[in-house]
């Protein structure tokens, strides 16, 4: 791909962008949020048409005008934003458009068998007949991967495939990638997780502001160099400092929280100024706990105490009133009002602040506030009146974070706060979390990335199968966390692969 230009109304997404992929290589595409990575790949996969430039396949210039055409040329893509049909089963999703048929009829048996075969090859424990809407995002992501694999493409684009995955699943994915690579498939790999780049890719192309910056070999380029090419400056890495909060008052205490098999007798507390990491494998129940505390889902039993007072929380409204904020793990479904503009999304949880006499909204104050957060979090958007759904994934996440920062809660629960966020912004968010803690706020961070948990947490609570299996001091080892995360009292037989990769 050479000299690719692409502009959206109000946004120049790509300007003379360039990218080259060889057969049998894993080529990482790096750049900050909104650098244009997804846009470039959508052009390659026929979703968008380019404004200028040329796409060459095997040296021949080609026109790719539709996803179908891209597929026919052997180009497959896993989109960053999940593109699944929620009401269909996993198998139906994977083979949409290519259903096995017997005469005129769909052959569901073959469909499910073929799907099972793909799942088996991925070492994925999933029923082909399960409806995708009942799956967690991680599982949905795995379905997307299975779908992309089923096309047996020569070029496979993966746009942040691991954003929602845990370590075991990432390891599984990497095994698959290596297998494909050996078969001569060229793979474009987009991710904000720097360690993965080293582990999996052969070459790295870096983009900034829609432009091509450079291509370097992955093996012998230091991560710091790549990062500085991405952000145009060098980042300093703050080491974890654990403040002594033992004397600080307890801000949030959860006692004997229960709901079915998802949450079993969970109790813990967070002090003012403390960052509590909540670790666990996917499906451990961390999100469930957070949502139960926040009143988003009902709980069967359990007490929630805020600042020493027991509070009755039966809806998110109660929680917010009690000073609790919750950043959900699925921004598209639960975080962002995608049709509203950036400004109103930021103000969504604190609208009453901008209401003057007679219920009239003070839009200029709202504008100023939004601008402040756009600057503070470097949200890439043409203006604060841009529709939120038109932002790049990472910038959408920043908008949701801004919403909770503005709300100014004493207790903040961040569920996967850096999912899909670039290194530069990640560092900003870490700084921000630390600053919030310093201001005396109690913070719970749920993350599937152990390095992130280790880097941020003053204390680490670990969950497994709905139970809290232990609380570790900050700076513990990954091994210690993993031991607790797999401590299964129910002693359910576990597949070896999961153990090993864990």
């Amino acid at each position: 791909m050479v000299d690719i230009d692409k502009a959206f109304p109000g946004v120049r997404a790509l300007s003379r962008a360039r990218f080259e992929l060889r057969a049998g290589e894993v080529h990482a595409l790096m750049g900050e949020n909104g650098a244009g990575k997804s846009t470039l790949m959508k052009i390659l996969s026929g979703v968008y048409t380019r404004d200028a430039g040329q796409v060459r396949l095997n040296g021949q210039p080609v026109e790719i005008t539709s996803p179908r055409q891209a597929q026919d040329m052997g180009i497959g893509i896993i989109h960053q934003e999940l593109a699944l049909m929620r009401d269909l089963t996993a198998a139906q999703n994977i083979f949409i458009g290519r259903e096995p048929r017997r005469a005129f009829l769909l052959d569901e048996g073959a469909l499910n068998r073929d799907t099972q075969a793909i799942f088996d090859s991925m070492n994925l424990k999933l029923e082909p007949t399960v409806k995708v809407e009942t799956l967690t995002i991680a599982k949905q992501q795995m379905v997307e991967i299975a779908k992309a694999l089923s096309y047996q493409s020569r070029v496979l684009i993966m746009d942040e495939p691991t954003a929602a995955l845990n370590d075991a699943e990432i390891a599984e994915l990497f095994t698959i990638i290596n297998r494909l690579k050996a078969e001569g498939v060229g793979i474009v790999y987009i991710s904000h997780k720097m360690d993965e780049i080293k582990r999996i890719s052969d070459r790295v192309t870096i983009m900034r502001d829609g432009e091509y910056v450079g291509t370097v070999p992955a093996a012998d380029t230091p991560i710091e160099t790549i990062i500085s090419m991405m952000v145009g400056r060098t980042l300093t890495n703050d080491a974890l400092v654990i403040p002594d909060t033992s004397a600080a008052p307890v801000a949030l205490e959860v006692r004997n929280l229960n709901r079915g098999r998802e949450i079993r007798d969970v109790s813990f507390s967070v002090r003012k100024g403390e960052i509590l990491g909540l670790a666990g494998l996917m499906g451990a129940g961390r999100t469930e706990v957070a949502r139960a505390i926040f009143g988003a889902d009902p709980r069967e039993s359990g007490e929630i105490w805020v600042n020493g007072n027991r509070v009755g929380i039966s809806s998110p409204q109660d929680a917010v009133r009690a000073g609790i904020g919750y950043l959900s793990e699925d921004r598209k479904q639960f975080g962002l009002a995608t049709g509203l503009d950036v400004r109103n999304n930021i103000a969504l949880a604190s609208l009453e602040r901008f209401i003057g006499p007679g219920g009239v909204i003070n839009d200029s104050a709202m504008h100023e506030t939004a601008e402040k957060f756009i600057r503070q979090l470097s949200i890439k958007t043409p203006s604060d009146t841009q529709e939120a759904r038109l932002l790049s994934g990472g910038n959408q996440q920043k908008v949701v974070i801004a919403k909770w920062l503005l709300r100014d809660c004493d207790i903040l629960i961040f569920d996967e706060p850096t999912r899909g966020i670039d290194v530069g912004a990640k560092a900003e968010i870490y700084k921000l979390l630390n600053a919030l803690a310093e201001q005396g706020r109690a913070i719970i961070v749920i993350s599937s990335e152990l390095p992130e948990i280790l880097r941020l947490s003053h204390r680490i609570a670990v969950m497994c199968e709905g139970r809290l299996t232990g609380v570790l001091p900050g700076g513990s080892s990954q091994e210690e966390i993993m031991r607790l995360a797999t401590l299964r009292p129910s002693a359910v037989a576990e597949t070896n692969s999961e153990r090993k990769s864990a």
């Binding site: 979703v47 539709s66 996803p67 179908r68 891209a70 597929q71 989109h79 593109a83 699944l84 049909m85 929620r86 009401d87 269909l88 139906q92 949409i96 458009g97 259903e99 048929r101 005129f104 009829l105 769909l106 569901e108 424990k125 999933l126 029923e127 007949t129 399960v130 409806k131 009942t134 799956l135 599982k139 779908k147 098999r261 499906g283 199968e465 129910s490 359910v492 037989a493």
Partner: protein, 331 residues
Amino acid sequence: MTDTTAPAAKSGVRISGAFHRLLAFSGLIALVVVFSIASPNFMQTQNVLAILQATSVNGVLAIAATLVIITGGIDLSVGTLMTFCAVITGVVLTNLGMPLPLGILASILAGTFCGLISGTIIAKLKVPPFIATLGMMLILKGLSLVISGTKPIYFNDTPGFNQIALGSAVGSIFPSLPVPNGVLILFLVAAIAAFVLSRTALGRYTFALGSNEEAVRLSGVNVDRWKIAVYATAGGICGVAGLLIASRLNSAQPALGQGYELDAIAAVVIGGTSLSGGRGTVVGTLIGALIISVLANGLRILSVAQEWQTVVTGSIIILAVYADILRRRTL
């Protein structure tokens, strides 16, 4: 999901699926029981057949609407399209004097063709379904009047015609069970539609479109073509409804049809199909249509004053759906 949860979840889904259908059904049963107790005339064979007969036209229209609604669209033209098809049949059979099979074919083809046009306007021109089918509703209403010369077309020259809805193939075999053919046709259409939805590519894409059209497009599927196919199929089904109503009235009534779309859509929604698309069943729609006609018939049998019939119908529709929601929640 871990190994332990998987089977439990699976059977859970299956049970709740079956149970859920049972729930809408139990609303219907409750109505039937209440009316049977309230009036001895309600459960007479004749009245049951009358209810089924009264369901047939609305039921067939509702099945057409179900297909479209599952794609996340809407079809306001089902009522007037039915009439248009009936008028076309009238022209073919009475004005042109063609044989009966041609008339039947004409109705279904006319419906399919109009559905094709609606579908094309929606898929290719990107006109929202509400507007496209609203426009179609008016166009067809006008055309029916124009073609028929604003007069009913009678089928007196085609003796077998009113047997389509009123004859009883079942009754000629089992005289004690004179189920009118119209009712048979309703169930036949329902069976075919259910089969198409669950077992064919058309059905698969119907659900897929309603679930996430963009995802379907990104999967390289020719979204436009399938969408048009769904509207065309729905149109063909309206053609069947046109035959049913024309046969029942032994005439094509050109002014009838507007307002029928609301009853059809109501049956669909009461039957549990979501207006936002992606989910729905033909069985649910049938039950929805039956609830509507059982209510109407039962209240008439009880000689409830007409103004109160409306009030009661409105309340029971809300209650029936609410009961369904409640029980699903406490599952």
